[in-house]
Symmetry: C2
Subunit: 435 residues, 2 copies
């Protein structure tokens, strides 16, 4: 890990200290994905089979998971894992339900009722990666809010293993959250299939979920095509920023840094502390704990791009964190709530010594599909609202039109939109005639 | 207008009946915008001046509107128009405030507190078109929710007239909603300036507002670049769909269709009715009213692409409307609320004879920046939430970790993320040691 002193850096050095591994849309990536998308649009299922054979080394018979496969997966799954999936789902359900948008009704003037009603996105497509290991937790994080929103059809794609099967736990998580159909597809081809539809895969209105750079590039491409599909957010490699004071437990801090670093070689971890002895202690702990990890190689690669940064104060740490806008922000300080008001940009925040990031990854109830790569400056994590549309409704009585019609007419005239004005004045005249 | 009978059409005919004027991202548009964006990124203010001279035929001295210009605009503006802008702003404020997201706190297990907190997007860029006429109402629709959200810096771009001035009413609307800085910029160059920043224009985190095809293409390009900016939604030409029963007032229906048609030659209007005499009557009214409009030429062009469609029932009309997913949906029927439950996709809905679309365009309180071109299937109109991020927060007590730690550890093990598991088990061990 790199040791830096924030206040010894010039502007450029500070920028470099918070830079992420480059996420440039390399021309080769862009054109590679364009070709995959074009093949799927042109050849449908045939293209999906060919691309799956190439990329997943898997010869698909049926693209869709059959009812028999669902049942067998459920039978094979260990009871303890089933119970954990159900337990996680119930807390995710509880929090997402509590945080779901509500309808609104307000009379903004006498006779002028304005409302907001909520409607689910009709058909949604969920993507669940299975790169180094399949992620049943992601199926929960997407399936639960889709069910609460009331989406009519929920489709899920996750790559099959070379033996042609989808992961049992992913299937079980999908089943209990009410996912309707699962397809054994991964990568850019899965995104293309859900965005445009094929013989097997239905065309979806909006796509959700994390993925590697091919998946992310495909999501960007289909979301900027009016014939494609909307997306939840751009996504990049996972990242964490920890702020620790002198009383933090270095072993806990190190464990949290490592739980991010093991995600992938392009993950990024940053520690900010006003205590240089804390930075020393954490650095030593990271080395010790990392050696014992099965994914030590991945974590070491991620750590090589990561930083331990000395800051002058906790207030400065929060400022630096806001500039970075981390996906995960962990506050291992004595009074974490005292810093919360100043937090402006982060995906999800973890307070105190007993709140490791992994509880949010799995089962505290919050969502783990979060904005990365600084997107937390402008995007939020996935929630029920991501699966809904908010539709406004207005209803005027004759009195209502008499009240706000003149204002409407004045503004329409100022904008030289005469038909807009007449749609009001014609009605006001009719009301006068009737009176 | 084209007369069609929905039930006499085959599948392809039905699809054609609901097709929109093509919005293909023509290669020439795409590369034209790419060049403008690249020029602004490379040459900053110099490029902005050159592009403004070319496209707006305006030699800019200062790019930013000065305090003196703000004051003069306010002095010049007619009191009646000022009052209308203030009246509209107050109702927009009331509804948007009522519909703003609220913080949430929930204990999802003993000792596990999960929260959602709200933070404004720090710096936002608003785009207010001034094509055929400047649109102060759009400044209100963007400025009011930005103010309620608490955005730290609100920047607005609107093209100057050839005399180098921004519209007085736009400036006044911007001023009373708390917009901080206004720049005399339009088109793709305005979007590029706000997305990347120049010497004069600050780089913004998220961009909002409608615009022509150049503006929309520029928004798509900058939003798919990690170095660019987020956007509210893709936007296209305005559109309305009216459902009328046999008791509707044909003059009112015609007035509403025309108030959409006058927006631009690429606007689209559709009328659905189970009553063929209603379709006849509206067609006659449209011709009569259109002739008297100052923008009759524009409206006629839009009408030439528009459709009067006979349907079997109001229920079928709602089905067809859901397929089309109109930006504006007007229900001129006896009992509009009886149809509301079945409405699945629309930007904003107008109920009954006394609710012309123009009240929503200006001052009922709802927002007029709405998803067009079928995007209402997956996008919502602009609201306070568009200017905010929702950040989740979790805090566990030792008891909380004892409660949900085992579930976390089981799921982490299933996903082969050992460091995630250890971040929990290490803490649980520490708790046991302390006990």
């Amino acid at each position: 890990m790199n040791r830096l002193d924030w206040n010894a850096l010039d502007t450029q050095g500070q920028r470099a200290a918070l830079s992420r591994p480059a996420q440039s849309r390399a021309e080769s990536l862009r054109s590679g994905v364009e070709q995959i998308v074009a093949r799927v649009r042109a050849d449908g299922d045939v293209a999906l089979r060919e691309l799956t054979a190439t990329f997943d080394r898997c010869a698909l018979h049926a693209i869709e998971v059959s009812e028999k496969e669902w049942r067998e997966a459920e039978l094979r799954l260990a009871p303890e894992l089933k119970a954990a999936i159900e337990e996680a789902a119930s807390r995710i359900d509880a929090f997402h339900r509590a945080a779901a948008p509500q309808p609104v009704t307000l009379d903004t003037a006498r006779g002028v009722r304005v409302e907001r009603m909520l409607r689910p996105v009709h058909r949604v497509g969920l993507y669940v990666p299975a790169g180094s290991a399949p992620l049943p937790s992601t199926a929960l994080m997407l399936g639960v809010p889709a069910r609460i929103a009331g989406c009519a059809e929920v489709v899920l794609c996750s790559p099959a293993r070379p033996d042609g099967r989808c992961d049992d736990a992913v299937l079980y998580a999908a089943r209990i959250t009410g996912v309707h159909r699962v397809f054994k597809l991964g990568g850019a081809q899965a995104i293309a299939a859900m965005a445009y539809g094929t013989e097997s895969v239905p065309k979806c209105d909006k796509l959700f979920g994390p993925g590697n750079s091919w998946v992310t590039e495909a999501k960007l491409q289909v979301s900027s095509d009016p014939e494609g599909a909307a997306i939840d957010m751009p996504a990049g490699p996972s990242e964490v920023l920890v702020i620790a004071d002198e009383n933090a437990n270095p072993a806990f801090v190190a464990a949290d840094l490592l739980s991010q670093a093991e995600h992938g070689p392009d993950s990024q971890v940053i520690l900010l502390s006003p205590s240089s002895s804390m930075l020393d202690a954490v650095e030593a702990e990271v080395s010790a704990q990392c050696a014992a990890l099965p994914r030590a190689g991945i974590a070491e690669k991620a750590l090589s791009q990561s930083r331990l940064i000395a800051v002058a104060s906790l207030a400065q740490a929060v400022d630096v964190s806001n500039r970075y806008a981390p996906e995960h922000l962990i506050l291992q300080v004595d009074e974490p709530r005292s810093l919360l008001d100043a937090i402006q940009s982060a995906g999800s925040v973890f307070l105190g010594a007993w709140t490791p990031e992994s509880v949010g990854d799995y089962c505290s109830g919050s969502n783990h599909v979060l904005p990365t790569y600084g997107y937390a400056r402008s995007y939020s994590g996935v929630s029920v609202a991501s699966f809904q549309k908010q539709i406004t409704v207005q209803e005027l009585s004759p009195e209502g039109l008499r009240t706000i019609g003149p204002c409407t007419a004045t503004l329409a005239a100022a904008e030289q939109l005469e038909a807009h004005r007449r749609a009001v004045t014609l009605r006001l005249a009719a009301l006068e005639d009737a009176a």
